[in-house]
Amino acid sequence: MTRKRRRFYIVVAALLVFGSATALVLTALDDSLDLFQSPSQIMAAPPPPERGIRLGGLVEEGTVLRSSDGLSVTFRVTDGAQSVPVRYQGILPDLFREGQGVITVGSMGQGGTFLAREVLAKHDENYLPREVVDALKESGQWREGEGEGVR
């Protein structure tokens, strides 16, 4: 076994491993990316139902309704300009409140309702997801200094 032969084997092994890793990454990236959209973007061009979407904004005041069996809940997510109805089944996070920032993960369903499989509220009451801040800024609803971090 010469030095050259050894190097050759190592290079072949490395190419094999990293090649398969690259193939895995490329195929997985194709179908597991969730695109962040604001309500305005969704209303302007509704995405196809197979597309994974993260819809972010504020929970519109007065729109949170629980079904009679208490298991599913509907609400609207707004960026101030537009709002999208959302349906979710399960227990909402503790910090889910009307008028607060939220990110819902899921896809568009029939009749323009967003079907969320996950609802993320912030972990800290002073923290607003960056995407939500940007979406609010774009729709002109953001006032500097409001909702910003603890000093």
């Binding site: 092994a13 969730d34 208490g70």
Partner: protein
């Protein structure tokens, strides 16, 4: 006053670090023993000053000194004492102080225990360590100063985020940081070796214990963090592929690779350049992890309130540290002499394959974590990469790694016999098939892949034990003789068996809890029952309860199985008064084989409550397995050969010969 002393001590620590980072390095270059000797007292002084600063901040927290801005933002007079203390690092500024404290502690450890290092190497290691310290001390003093006063002082503080008011905060961040920062030792040794232009078996023997220690800490820290998330967040999940979790996981993956390649350097004097590169990359990932957590560039559950100035500062720090060390590597690495030869099928070959898979897995996680950043920089679109990506890339890369982890230890150094190794693994193959069939029978089918993966976990577990029993000749000689052989084995051999077996246990736990998890969401009135996985949970109602700084609604469930009463569970919903923030406290009934996990949601106003119950088979094994892995790491660390530390070059070679014999 005390706070100002702490602030002043931190500034002095920066001065000490500047001294430690400059004079000994110059001394080492010129061969000036007196200048090199400055490194040790400077390291001790730095540690003392940082500890003093840390204590003053702790004092401000314990005495609820609301003239300090950091205490106001993160504490409250009614907070229990434990959380006043742990609250010191439950925020950005304080956690940076903890980072610096651990960094200085590692530096002092080299100063204290590295007496047998060659003086130039010790001076340079301490010098590099000081440079890392300078970066973080400057970062803390200029952008994240915990010692700032506030005027006028408020009557009371704003309290600590209730999610952090948990004993988990006492252990998770310190352990995790000890792991993160511990890899700075491998980094400093690598940079020092590049400057010296010499890497040999003795060098590897100094680096290995530090890497092992950091790895054990990081393993424990990640495991604790995952356990904490599991019981505190109320989702019944233990890993979310959140950017911050990935930030701690990437150094773990490369650190594990480093642990293995350092053995090759030590025993066979091969793979030297690669090991140096791994040491640099591992700590670079620790730094990138800090950047991800502290800058808030990625949306994460861990995001603290963020500040662009900080992100920028860390970015500069990253560029200097990573860019500088990689440049040094590019310039100096070709000068390192290549070491021993080996055949592809050999212990060394197995370690190379191990390193390839771990690095590839780390690269996949890295790409998935930072992809949103890249894409946003490229075309401004905002995406997020979810768990499906990581499951689809990470898991397939782990399968061959785990498969080979049973074979590698069976191969001798230099040239191995694959057929012979596989023949010794017959029992492991049998175990894999048996466990696969049992899983198939118990779960009446289930996904074929999951059954196969359980078999793979059994393969590794039995394989690790077979390797050990072969070495002590269990059942082939008298038990007394086996015992004597076991005692004669180096501790690192026991450590490896434990770590590999632990990994198999973790794997079984992960598969069991994600594939065969059952979940029921129901709206219950008192007196109603819900059934899950053979258990019946009778909802007896909800009562009120007052905690020290919160009020809770506590539900009562009695759990029966086949009519036999097993337990009573009390999930809670708490509202912390100061922040008016609700949290969920899950009730968990754990046995060795599964967890029953209950959470209550909101009342529907008509006497009903939303409840969510999970049944997670094997989930306790995840933490049990991590514990076994950490025990393996620590057992290995206690090996005499590592403890004695710095033998002369001659000794290293002769013991390497003994190990191969």
């Amino acid at each position: 006053m005390i706070i100002e002393l702490g602030h002043f001590a931190l500034i002095l620590a920066l001065v000490a670090a500047l001294l430690q980072g400059s004079l000994p390095m110059i001394g080492a270059a010129r061969g000036d023993a007196a200048w090199m000797a400055l490194a040790r007292p400077a390291a001790f002084a730095q540690l003392f000053l940082v500890v003093f600063a840390f204590c003053t901040l702790t004092y401000a927290y314990v005495t609820s000194d609301f003239t300090v801005a950091n205490v106001v933002a993160n504490s409250h007079s009614a907070k229990p004492l434990l959380y006043k203390v742990t609250g010191v690092w439950g925020n950005h500024e304080g956690s940076m102080l903890l980072w610096i404290f651990i960094l200085a502690a590692f530096g002092s450890a080299v100063a204290a225990f590295g007496g047998n290092l060659p003086p130039t190497l010790q001076a340079r290691v301490l010098g590099v360590q000081a440079w890392i310290g300078i970066g973080f001390l400057a970062f803390t003093l200029f952008t994240s100063n915990p010692f700032l006063r506030i005027f006028p002082a408020p009557f009371d503080g704003e309290d600590l985020n209730p999610l952090l008011q948990d004993p988990g905060l006492a252990f998770h961040p310190p352990l995790l940081y000890a792991g993160y920062v511990g890899f700075s030792m491998a980094f400093s040794f690598a940079i020092a070796a590049l400057i010296e232009g010499k890497v040999d078996a003795a060098w590897a023997r100094w680096v290995r214990p530090w890497t092992l220690l950091a790895w054990a800490f990081l393993t424990g820290g990640i495991a604790l963090g995952s356990w904490w998330a599991y019981y505190e967040l109320g989702w019944g999940g233990w890993w979310f592929w959140d950017p911050v979790e990935n930030a701690s996981f990437m150094p773990w993956l490369l650190g594990t690779a480093l642990l293995h390649s350092a053995i090759v350097v030590e025993k066979r004097n091969a793979l030297k350049t690669w090991t140096i590169l791994l040491a640099i990359l591992t700590f670079s990932l620790s730094l990138i992890g800090t950047f991800i957590v502290r800058s808030g560039v990625l949306t994460s559950v861990h995001a603290f309130a963020t500040d662009p100035e900080r992100g920028f500062f860390i970015l500069i720090l990253l560029a200097v540290a990573i860019g500088g060390s990689l440049t040094l590597f590019a310039v100096r690495a070709p000068a390192l002499k290549a070491g021993g030869l080996f055949a592809p099928i050999s212990r060394e070959g197995a370690m190379v394959i191990n390193n390839l898979f771990l690095t590839a897995a780390c690269a996949a996680v890295f790409l998935g974590t930072l992809y949103p950043l890249f894409l946003e920089a490229l075309d401004g679109s905002k995406v997020s990469v979810g768990p499906p990506f990581f499951n689809a890339t990470f898991a397939p890369l782990m399968v061959p790694l785990v498969f080979l982890a049973a074979i590698g230890p069976m191969l001798p150094w230099k040239r191995g016999d694959l057929a012979g190794a596989l023949a010794r693994l017959k029992l492991a193959a049998l175990g894999a098939v048996a466990i696969g069939l049992i899983a198939w029978y118990l779960k009446s089918g289930g996904p074929v892949l999951a059954v196969a993966a359980m078999g793979l976990a059994a393969w590794l577990f039995v394989g690790a034990l077979v390797e050990w029993t072969d070495r002590v000749k269990l059942f082939r000689v008298t038990p007394g003789e086996s015992w004597r052989r076991a005692k004669a084995l180096p501790r690192s051999a026991h450590g490896m068996t434990l770590a590999h077996a632990g990994l198999a246990i973790v794997m079984a736990g992960m598969i069991g809890s994600s594939v065969w998890k059952a979940e029921v969401v129901a709206n219950l009135r008192p007196g109603e029952t819900v059934e899950i996985a053979g258990y019946s949970l009778l909802f007896e109602g909800v009562g009120k309860l007052d905690g020290p700084n919160y009020q809770a609604e506590r539900a009562r469930f009695s759990v029966t199985r086949d009519g036999e009463e097993l337990a009573v569970m009390f999930p809670e919903k708490r509202v912390y008064q100061v922040r008016a923030m609700p949290t969920t406290e899950a009730a968990i009934r754990t046995t060795l084989f599964s967890d029953l996990y209950a959470v209550i949601g909101d009342a529907d106003g008509q006497g009903g409550w939303t409840v969510r119950i999970y049944h997670e088979p094997l989930v306790p094994w995840i933490w049990l397995g991590c514990f076994v892995m950490v025990a393996g790491g620590l057992t290995s660390l206690s090996d005499r050969r590592l403890r004695i530390g710095a033998p002369h070059r001659q000794d290293a070679e002769s013991s390497a010969r003994r190990a191969t014999a």
